[in-house]
Symmetry: C2
Subunit: 186 residues, 2 copies
């Protein structure tokens, strides 16, 4: 694996465990085994690193969505929860979007825009998938699609925080189970 990719993976790890203001170039450089100045070769500034992190995460998510595009809607939603559950069980991490939103006011405008775009993309995916699910008769046909999307997004972000706080990934898993139960067709 090349240095840039390794750097991004490490930076994402620190982002998800310590927050954007909780790690430094030094932190990442030490973990990589190179000098801080060398890291600036790949990322001109921390802002630059932030942009690369969110872009990287987005690409990862879009590949995941493409891969599962042809699955039934209910299965897609289950797999979405599996993806977030992996985050919760991996050292009580939280979602990069959630972290960056917590540190939102110390970020630059372009970075803020990038985070919002990702969030809205995920929201649009949920809405599309809910519609599919209703057509496939696996989801309740009286579902308020937009409200449900907001509920899913907010409780995923909050649920990851809670799993960390309570030191218990089961908190998140149960939450997901109930979210799905409540929208499934009777």
């Amino acid at each position: 694996m090349d240095t840039r990719t390794r750097a991004l993976d490490l930076a994402r790890h620190y982002l998800q465990t310590l927050g954007f203001n909780g790690f430094s170039f030094q932190t990442v450089a030490d973990a990589l085994g190179i000098r801080k100045a060398s890291l600036h070769y790949y990322f001109a500034s921390k802002e630059d690193l932030g942009m690369a992190l969110i872009q990287d995460y987005r690409t990862h998510y879009e590949n995941w969505a493409r891969k599962n595009a042809s699955l039934p809607a209910l299965e897609k939603l289950e797999l979405l929860f599996v993806m977030f559950n992996k985050i919760a069980t991996d050292e009580h991490k939280i979602c990069p979007v959630g972290v960056l939103t917590a540190d939102f006011n110390s970020l630059s405008k372009p970075l803020k825009k990038k985070i919002l775009e990702f969030h809205l993309g995920q929201r649009a995916w949920l809405i599309r998938t809910f519609k599919e699910g209703i057509e496939q008769k696996t989801l309740r046909k009286d579902l308020d699609i937009e409200a449900t999307a907001e509920l899913f997004l907010s409780s995923i972000q909050g649920g990851l925080l809670m799993a960390r706080l309570r030191n218990d990934p089961k908190v998140f898993k149960d939450l997901c189970k109930n979210l799905l139960k409540n929208i499934s067709a009777p």
Copy 2:
């Protein structure tokens, strides 16, 4: 208002807008109009300030709960949302517990414990209030009380994040409205 109280108010403001690692003693001292060293007269360390902040927030919440203890359960829940909605509409702030959970891994053990205690207290309050609401027949009698408490707590935390991200307090308000609708007796 005495200096310590003013300092706490300012620190809470910065906590809720910039995160625990996003502000410094200098930030607060400047806003107060005193020297950083003088702030150390009131709070020996940043850890100490963190403890005072969470204690202060807890006292505030417990006074609120006491004041409304005799109201009907549904009204209590409505007022809880009003309280959090005030946070969302005040410069896109988020809940101090949520912020501190995002920065959780850079905090000391005693501070972590204090945050967890507050969260569990709020969870217990929700569970008690749901039980009251069922007895008062304003909430659905088939409600899964524990699961609903987790859902409320997580979507409140996540909802505040989302309202900030989307630059739109309406996001939070609508979320609350739907949460209440889903648990109300038919």
